[in-house]
């Protein structure tokens, strides 16, 4: 069968083929936008679907509460709270772990699973092996992150120090849990799979080891549909207060879930900001290219209309042309985005979130969204040009276009023209003749620079955060937490350990901070006012000492959560001991990028708690090289519950984050390159098309190829150079948006851009410009000098 196309469609195909370079360049920009859109949306969809399915299948709880110890009978009272659907009590024990051949301190969390069947709530998904045998005394299931980090398999042996007593454990399985999709040690800043692990153990065995027989210290519940969560929480708090309850909290405040939600929120931001930039640039490029095409085809359009083609058909012809470009871009972008999305999901699964499976979804809806968004951007960008094509009367169209009108430029009016030779004047006047186009071109190129800077920003930001957090603020080598509040005398004992050079104690207490109708549940930290290890920092990141008699809050906590100012009185509800509620003045606001904190002087906090010199933990400085000795010594001390070594944490963090940074760098470089090249190359081609006759005339007059290249590429060079500082501003702006969008209680990105970021941003412009310049230079060699003399424009 012979395929027959309407003549207009044939023309369309040939036009497209003729300007294939430009078509590809624009399609590449659309591809960039669609790829980020598809990547973010599919990853978002996949993670959300996977999360929801995982939560539902494994009965993730809706309310969580931690307490000191309550007899099992209290559970009945909790179950009786209206709205509670299912409730399960657990034993939860912070432990130290020992893994053969690994000397660093490991903190573990042991959670009980019922002996009489699978957990009612927060069930675990077995990846390998089996769950614990009912009433077994020493079997445990490991979280998969920990098992993988240490290459532990069912059958391997480890040990845990539970309540000061060493217990040998046998690994029987490896699992993931909806409660620990994101795993991080309490108080730690980053996940560290080697030094923190969650383990599940039979209820009876754990209770026996932890002195919790017939009792529980952790409870979770699901609620009936339509229940007010806050009401249940209030009732729980009332019931659990006498048992050392530290406040129940809803699922949205559950740490793993909250982190996951934040990450998903950021993906949505990515799915909006970046595609918007790309599609905006693509719309501009299509406008420029189609305008030029219409200008070149004036006569053809006039003839078609003279033959009787309607406005609609001709307008449709150009819209079709644009749509072909869009379809190419969306097709390629969807493929690339799906690839990126799968890659990103894998990186998430590998480094951050642990799900039993990943439902990677390429929702057709996403492709339709991409298509509609791109087509809308592209068509709106070309509409003016297309209307111009459709409006032309045949007689008008067959007349040549009136010559372009130029005027002397600002530079000349202020008397600088004598510094400019004619070619340079041409450059200046070309730019000044169509200032809007020049501005948009500069902005388009600048976007490439900005995107590149955003892509490269993260590494510098992370370095900066780590530096502030660990070299300015939390400078201890090791932080210890004690099993319970302890006399400050213990610090002397620690200081006397060989290898320990300095010790600072701290007291922390769970509390609810309230101001007007804002509240936040958080630990109150009592630190040393003139401590050298753990310090708070002011806005300029200079250490400030915490004054006596009040609290100092980190900026996010003060400004965004509690909305307090220095001088305001904060209500503090201490969830420990006598559970006092006190009014305390806010004395200052400090800067912190990771987490949020409320600091007091240790002595002031002790006073609030009506106690003497009591500490709950200590910061240690250790002589380099003596770490294993110190770890071993501390490991043996029953009062020491957990240890976090900063150096190891930083190293493992970089190992984790490295893949992310690399991934984003790759993606952003590809995309910034696509925009940079798309804009510069198209501008160059349009300039060549518009100025071709002029340049050929100059060649005839004896100008060399280099001299006419100066005129053509000089204009581009001026625009590209102008785009560098503008691009840096765009980069600063985009990073600013990112900082705003990603601001959360968990972390805030610092607004720091390194000289490397700026250099990379400039480099993407320079490379795109050189590449486009080279391609156009080759075209200049093909200018037809003879034809230009015989034709009228």
């Amino acid at each position: 069968m012979k395929l027959s196309l309407a003549p207009l469609d044939l023309k369309l195909l040939r036009d497209l083929w003729h300007m294939r370079g430009q078509v590809l360049a624009i399609a590449a920009v659309i591809m960039g936008g669609v790829a980020t859109l598809v990547m973010s949306l599919t990853t978002y969809d996949s993670l959300t679907t996977t999360r929801d399915r995982f939560y539902a299948e494994y009965r993730f709880a809706a309310v969580f509460a931690v307490l000191k110890r309550a007899p099992e009978s209290v559970a009945e009272r909790l179950r009786a709270v209206p709205g509670v659907e299912r409730l399960e009590t657990r034993v939860r024990a912070g432990v130290k772990l020992e893994v053969q051949g690994f000397g660093d301190p490991i903190t573990g969390l042991l959670l009980s699973v019922p002996d009489g069947g699978p957990p009612q709530l927060n069930d675990i998904h077995m990846k390998r092996g089996r769950t614990v045998e009912p009433y077994s005394s020493n079997e445990v299931v490991l979280s998969d992150t920990f098992a993988e980090a240490h290459r532990l398999e069912p059958g391997d042996k480890i040990a845990a120090i539970i309540n000061g007593k060493r217990k040998a454990l046998t690994v029987v399985g490896v699992a993931v849990s909806p409660e620990y999709v994101y795993q991080i040690a309490p108080g730690a800043m980053f996940p560290d799979f080697k030094r923190y692990g969650v383990l599940w153990m039979g209820r009876n065995a754990l209770a026996a080891a932890y002195d919790m027989e017939g009792a529980f210290n952790n409870v979770t519940a699901t609620l009936a549909r339509g229940t007010q969560v806050q009401e249940v929480i209030d009732r729980f708090d009332g019931i659990l207060a006498p048992y050392g309850g530290t406040g129940a909290y809803p699922r949205k405040d559950q740490f793993s879930n909250r982190f996951l939600s934040e990450e998903l929120k950021q993906l949505q931001t990515t799915a909006t900001i970046f595609p918007a930039i790309f599609l905006g640039v693509a719309a501009f490029l299509l406008n420029v290219v189609i305008s030029r095409l219409v200008a070149l085809q004036r006569e053809q359009i006039a003839i078609l209309k003279a033959f009787g083609y309607s406005h609609l058909v001709i307008a449709g012809h150009f819209v079709k042309l644009v749509l072909v470009v869009v379809v190419i871009g969306v097709g390629a972008g969807t493929a690339l985005g799906a690839w990126f999305g799968r890659g990103l999901s894998d990186v998430y699964m590998e480094t951050t979130f642990r799900f039993p499976y990943l439902d990677y979804l390429l929702n057709p809806g996403v492709v339709i969204v991409a298509l509609v968004v791109s087509a809308t951007a592209a068509i709106s960008g070309t509409l003016i040009a297309v209307f111009r094509a459709a409006r032309l009367t045949p007689a008008e169209g067959m007349r040549p276009e009136t010559p372009a009108i130029y005027r002397t430029t600002v530079i000349e009016r202020i008397g600088l023209q004598r510094w400019l030779a004619s070619p340079s004047r041409m450059i200046v006047r070309h730019i000044e003749r169509r200032p809007l186009k020049a501005v948009l071109t500069v902005l388009g190129i600048a976007c490439a620079c900005g995107l590149m800077m955003v892509g490269n920003y993260q590494k510098g930001a992370i370095d900066f955060m780590v530096d502030v957090q660990f070299r300015q603020s939390a400078r201890e080598d090791l932080s210890l937490t004690f099993i319970e509040p302890t006399s400050g005398r213990v610090l002397h004992e620690l200081a006397a350990l060989p290898g320990v050079t300095h010790v600072e104690g701290f007291r922390d207490a769970p509390a609810i901070l309230r101001f007007r109708n804002y509240s936040h549940r958080h630990a109150l930290f009592g630190i040393q006012p003139d401590g050298t290890l753990h310090r708070s920092l002011d806005r300029r990141l200079q250490p400030v000492s915490v004054p006596a008699g009040g609290v100092v809050l980190t900026d996010h906590l003060a400004n965004k959560i509690l909305h307090v100012q220095p001088g305001d009185m904060l209500t503090i509800e201490i969830l420990e001991g006598r559970r006092r509620t006190v009014e305390v003045p806010v004395l200052g606001i400090t800067q912190q990028f990771l987490g949020v904190s409320a600091y007091m002087q240790q002595a002031s906090l002790n006073e609030l708690l009506r106690e003497g010199n009591v500490v709950t933990g200590a910061y240690l400085a250790i002589e380099p090289g003596t770490e294993p000795l110190v770890y071993a010594e501390l490991h043996e001390r029953p009062r020491v519950l957990g240890m976090v070594a900063n150096d190891a944490a930083i190293r493992s963090f970089y190992a984790t984050i490295g893949e992310f940074v690399l991934f984003y760098n790759l993606v952003s470089t590809l995309l910034a390159g696509a925009i940079g090249f798309g804009v510069v190359y198209n501008s160059a081609r349009i300039a060549l098309s518009e100025g071709g006759r002029e340049l050929a005339s100059l060649r005839v007059l004896g100008f060399t190829r280099g001299e006419i290249a100066y005129i053509l590429l000089g204009e581009l060079a001026v625009l590209a150079l102008a785009a560098i500082p503008v691009g840096m501003l765009v980069g600063i702006g985009l990073v600013g948006i990112l900082v705003q969008a990603f601001e959360s209680e968990l972390y805030r990105l610092p607004m720091t851009l390194t000289s490397e970021n700026y250099a990379m941003g400039a480099a993407v412009i320079v490379v795109s410009a050189l590449l486009s310049g080279w391609l156009v230079w080759r075209q200049l060699g093909k200018l037809d000098l003879v034809a230009v003399l015989k034709t009228r424009e």
Binding site: P403, A404, I405, R699, L701, F703
Partner: protein, 240 residues
């Protein structure tokens, strides 16, 4: 050759042949042309379209190369020259005037001339060249602000401002009405007379041929006639 004055020989062509290859078809444009052009001459190349006159002019001006035969400019063999040498040749020795002016729209009249004088070894001042063509008053106008005849005179000023050895004009009045055309021809005539520039003018208009020292008629790629006008008619007496 039967020219009256025997000045210095500027161009000498022997057996000039040009064949264009259009896909699978060969189109001969010049079929073995012999030609000599002398300094100070005003030569009109006359012929219908397709006779090869533009091809000949392009080869003389270094815009195109022949398929066979030789062209010498003074003692330089243009046939053997590469792109770089031809560019230099055009730059230093040839002035072009085209049917559609080919001015740079972004440059004023003065600057359109300056664009050439800036790269010439021994140019006249742009103002001088524009005064010569009667545009001394319109120096700072952009092409869009000038009439067709004025634009063409700017093109002539641009062509002669470098003091070229040869002025090549391809249908300089082709896009103009006869009244304006005469003004343009007067400018060319004046340049030829006052500067003594060898001027080669292409036209298919036999009326214009009367202003020449010598008329060379082309047809089908051959020179079919070369005659010297006994009486040279001033441009202002021409009409068509």
């Amino acid at each position: 050759m039967d020219a009256v004055e025997r000045n210095e020989l500027v161009f000498r062509a022997r057996g000039l042949t040009k064949i264009y290859r259009m896909g699978e078809v060969e189109v001969p444009a010049l079929r073995g042309i012999d030609l000599e052009l002398y300094a100070g001459e005003m030569v009109v190349l006359l012929g219908p379209s397709g006779s090869g006159k533009s091809t000949l002019l392009n080869i003389l001006g270094g815009l195109d190369t022949p398929t066979a035969g030789d062209v010498y400019y003074l003692d330089h063999n243009l046939t053997a020259a590469g792109d770089r040498d031809l560019t230099l040749f055009r730059r230093d020795h040839v002035g072009f005037v085209f049917q559609f002016y080919n001015l740079i729209p972004s440059l004023t009249a003065r600057e359109n001339v300056a664009v050439v004088t800036e790269i010439s070894p021994a140019p006249m001042r742009p103002e001088e060249a524009l005064t010569l063509v009667g545009l001394g008053e319109r120096l700072d106008h952009f092409p869009a602000q000038l009439s067709g005849g004025e634009q063409q005179r700017v093109a002539i000023a641009r062509a002669i401002a470098k003091n070229p050895a040869v002025l090549l004009c391809d249908e300089p009045t082709g896009a103009l009405d006869s009244q304006t055309g005469v003004v343009v021809l007067e400018a060319i005539e004046r340049v030829n007379r006052e500067l003594g520039t060898l001027t080669v003018l292409i036209t298919h208009n036999a009326g214009i041929a009367e202003m020449a020292d010598r008329v060379i008629r082309l047809s089908d790629g051959h020179v079919i006639e070369s005659r010297t006008n006994a009486v040279k008619k001033p441009a202002h007496e021409l009409s068509w």
